[in-house]
């Protein structure tokens, strides 16, 4: 007889039917993948980063394939928070799946304004404050790499936010645990990591950068060991739950992140390779638990035996 595995997790106040969401920016707001993925069956859908009035994003080329990974410099192209609330969130609500809205800004005031707009709208179930995008000048990454600015932006968003607030961290720092602690101390209900690693690609033949913006964020299986290490470090440094991501392509990858300390996981670049990845990861985590005699998926969290 197959035992029933409890798959429900609680990510800083956000109750998820299973530990799996998508990584912001790889999945739009879910609808684009609805031919391939049972969106209603996801733990949550994390939407593409949204700013107050929308951004045009960066010039093309915006992506480059690299060994076991890819670089992107999309630059947070988005149509603004109003469009998200009018078009995307109603669709997610109709699916009955929790919505984690990824919040971006060029300034502290913009982050707060986006959170305020989402609070007023009321459809978001949680926020992921993106203080880590490497592809926007004078935004994201700038906030996410210095403890004082992390404290300022997270505290300001906390004042505006009544919903669970996840703070997304960049790996492009000397010590990610310092940033994680600052986010926790400033009111984060959870942290998510890692955003992409800053990288670049060069075309030797033309002697030019492959990306129009020269540098971009590295994602995919290539970054998984770095992401695992950082999740493990943060798990040992903070008490708030962790949404782990970075190169997760399979259920085994996801389980490894949970063992390292993640309460939930996000599938990102793998969606591009395998559009069924999210469904396969959800089913695979459950199958792993059954095989291992784990009755509650929460028992995996931080279960690494060193």
């Amino acid at each position: 007889m197959v035992m029933a595995v409890n798959m429900q997790v609680n990510l800083g106040g956000l109750v998820m039917a299973n530990p799996v969401t998508d990584a912001s920016g790889t999945f739009a707001a879910g609808r684009e993948y609805s031919d391939f993925v049972n969106v209603a069956g996801m733990g949550a859908v994390t939407t593409k980063g949204v700013s107050l009035n929308g951004w045009e994003g960066n010039e093309s080329p915006r992506i480059a394939e690299t060994p076991s990974g890819m670089l992107n410099s999309i630059g947070l192209q988005n149509p603004g928070v109003k469009h998200l609330c009018e078009v995307d969130l109603p669709w997610l609500k109709s699916q009955g799946v929790p919505a984690i809205v990824n919040v971006s800004g060029h300034s502290l005031e913009e982050y707060v304004s986006v959170v305020e707009a989402l609070e007023e709208d009321g459809q978001a179930d949680a926020y992921e404050i993106n203080i880590s995008c490497p592809n926007v000048d004078a935004g994201g990454l700038t906030f996410g790499t210095h403890v004082p600015s992390v404290e300022r932006v997270v505290s300001a968003c906390r004042e505006a936010a009544t919903k669970p607030m996840i703070v997304k961290l960049t790996p492009n720092v000397t010590d990610i645990t310092e940033i994680a602690k600052a986010a926790e101390a400033s009111g984060a209900d959870a942290i998510s990591l890692i955003n992409t690693l800053l990288g670049m690609a060069i075309d030797a033949r033309t002697r030019k950068p492959v990306l129009a913006r020269v540098v971009g964020g590295l994602s995919g299986p290539a970054v998984k060991p770095v992401a695992l290490r950082m999740v493990w470090q943060c798990h040992n440094a903070v008490k708030v739950p962790i949404l782990g991501m970075g190169g997760i392509s399979t259920a085994t990858d996801a389980v490894e992140f949970m063992l390292a300390g993640a309460t939930a996981v996000a599938v990102g670049t793998a969606n591009f390779t395998n559009p069924h990845a999210v469904d396969e990861v959800i089913a695979g985590i459950e199958a792993y638990c059954e095989e291992q005699g784990v009755a509650d998926v929460n028992d995996l969290i931080g279960g690494l035996q060193c």
């Binding site: 790889t26 684009e32 031919d35 391939f36 192209q77 395998n274």
Partner: protein
């Protein structure tokens, strides 16, 4: 990007496709035939498939390919080697299995009246299935094909059997048909004044030039913009093109655009 339709109304799917043949047609030009019954039945002219190459190891991204023809259970793709992916594809052998996501994108839509098809280089391929449709529907159509040299004019015979007459051809080196770019025969054809639409696929400078000639002639022109893609389904915003309405996704808002909408 307001409507956020993920596809043309037809649900997209993943299909495992088996390589039936993979033959060299000319300099850097190949035709791969895949047994892919679902795709063959669903694909419409100008749409593309997003292919994960078999055994391509650390390469995690799919490659978009426009479909040349759908025959029975098979899908044919004509491709040119331009980078690592297409160079690798030439080595793929009969029997290999690759994953396709299809059918993707907004393809060509027929217009009332006479149509001019303009295919530059390997850009002649994504227009063949559309020309088949126009012929099948009994519409008037003329075809202009351009290539660098005669040995690269690999779709001419198929177009000739389809039309029941030779298409107009131009080669840069004069080895076949008009000597020079195919823009000259396009200009001559449009000067006749009886065309109601131009459909062009090829290198961007060619599409831009043809669109300008069509605009002068007062004829609407449709072009196919294939950009570097990651997801292929409208989610990642890698493949955007500049339009009058801002940046739009070539994978779902295109690849076929009205040239008038483009900012180029």
């Amino acid at each position: 990007m307001c409507e956020c339709e993920a596809h043309n109304g037809t649900p997209a799917f993943e299909e495992r496709a088996c390589v039936v043949s993979n033959e060299n047609l000319g300099p850097r030009l190949y035709k791969i035939t895949l047994a892919a019954p679902k795709t063959a039945a669903a694909i419409r002219p100008g749409q593309f498939v997003h292919m994960l190459l078999p055994g391509f190891g650390a390469h995690i991204l799919r490659r978009p390919f426009s479909v040349y023809a759908a025959k029975g259970d098979n899908v044919e793709i004509i491709y040119q080697t331009v980078g690592e992916g297409t160079a690798y594809l030439t080595e793929v052998e009969t029997g290999a299995v690759c994953s396709l996501i299809s059918p993707l994108g907004r393809g060509w839509q027929p217009s009332e009246g006479k149509s001019l098809i303009v295919g530059g280089g390997v850009g002649a391929a994504p227009l063949f299935m559309f020309t088949e449709q126009l012929v099948r529907e009994g519409r008037e159509v003329e075809v202009v094909l351009g290539a660098q040299t005669a040995s690269m004019m690999v779709t001419r015979d198929d177009y000739a059997s389809l039309l029941g007459r030779d298409p107009i051809v131009a080669t840069d080196d004069g080895s076949l048909g008009y000597a020079g770019f195919c823009t000259e025969p396009v200009r001559e054809e449009l000067a006749r004044g009886d065309y109601s639409a131009v459909y062009c696929c090829g290198p961007t400078p060619l599409m831009r030039a043809v669109a300008a000639i069509a605009e002068e002639a007062g004829v609407p022109c449709w072009v196919s913009m294939e950009k570097r893609m990651a997801c292929g389904v409208g989610a990642c915003l890698s493949c955007v093109v500049e339009t009058q309405a801002g940046k739009r996704r070539s994978c779902v808002d295109g690849p076929v655009f009205n040239a008038k909408e483009l900012v180029w």
